[in-house]
Amino acid sequence: AQSVTQLDSQVPVFEEAPVELRCNYSSSVSVYLFWYVQYPNQGLQLLLKYLSGSTLVKGINGFEAEFNKSQTSFHLRKPSVHISDTAEYFCAVKGDTGNQFYFGTGTSLTVIP
C-alpha cells in the first residue's frame, strides 16, 4: 500500500508571500499524484495532477507542483498567496494498479493579511 506524508500540518503565511506545501510518498513504482483543496465546509476540489510527461505541473488558482521521482516528492507551490487561498490542502497518490487513492493528512494553509 502507498503512504503519503505531508510534513506540515499548519502553514501560516503572509498575503502576497510565496508558499510551499510539502508532500512525500512511499512508493518508487509508477504513481499518479494529485493535490486537492478543501475550502471550509466544502468538498474537495482538484488543484492539479501529475500523470506523466513534464515534471512541472500547473494547476488552477496559480498553483504549481513539481514531481521529483528520485526524492519521491510532489511539493505544491504558489509564488504569491491571497487571502482566498486559506484552506486545507491534501496530497494524494494513486498507484498504477488498483483504484484506491491514498491521501495525506492535510496541510492547513492560513494566509495572514
Partner: protein, 117 residues
C-alpha cells in the same frame, strides 16, 4: 468532469439510529467511492461501489455497519447504521472519471456532515 450532489448536506442524529446518504452523479460512471473524513483528519476510503456487484470494503469497515447500494450508473447510497458519536464525520462520495487507461482524477461531492449525539 462529473458533477456530484449529496443529500443530506448535514444532519444531527441520535445514538442508535441509522442515516442513509444519497449520492447523485450527472453522468454515468463505473466506479463510485465512499470516504469518511473524521474531524481534523484526512480521508479514509470506506468502500468502492460498482454497479451490479457487491461493494468492496476496506479494512476496518463492514457491510453491516455501512451498507451500500448502487442500483445504477449515476446513483449510490451509503447507510451509517446503529450510529454512535464516533461516527460523527464528513462522508464524501466520489467518482472516477476518464478512460480506464488514463487514471484520471476522482471528483468529489460536497460531503455530508454528520453529528451523532
Amino acid at each position: 468532469s462529473a458533477v456530484i450532489s449529496q443529500k443530506p448536506s448535514r444532519d444531527i442524529c441520535q445514538r442508535g439510529t441509522s442515516l442513509t446518504i444519497q449520492c447523485q452523479v450527472d453522468s454515468q460512471v463505473t466506479m463510485m467511492f465512499w470516504y469518511r473524513q473524521q474531524p481534523g483528519q484526512s480521508l479514509t476510503l470506506i468502500a468502492t461501489a460498482n454497479q451490479g456487484s457487491e461493494a468492496t470494503y476496506e479494512s476496518g469497515f463492514v457491510i453491516d455497519k455501512f451498507p451500500i447500494s448502487r442500483p445504477n450508473l449515476t446513483f449510490s447510497t451509503l447507510t451509517v447504521s446503529n450510529m454512535s458519536p464516533e461516527d460523527s464525520s464528513i462522508y464524501l462520495c466520489s467518482v472516477e472519471d476518464g478512460a480506464w487507461a488514463t487514471y484520471n482524477e476522482q471528483f468529489f461531492g460536497p460531503g455530508t456532515r454528520l453529528t451523532v449525539l
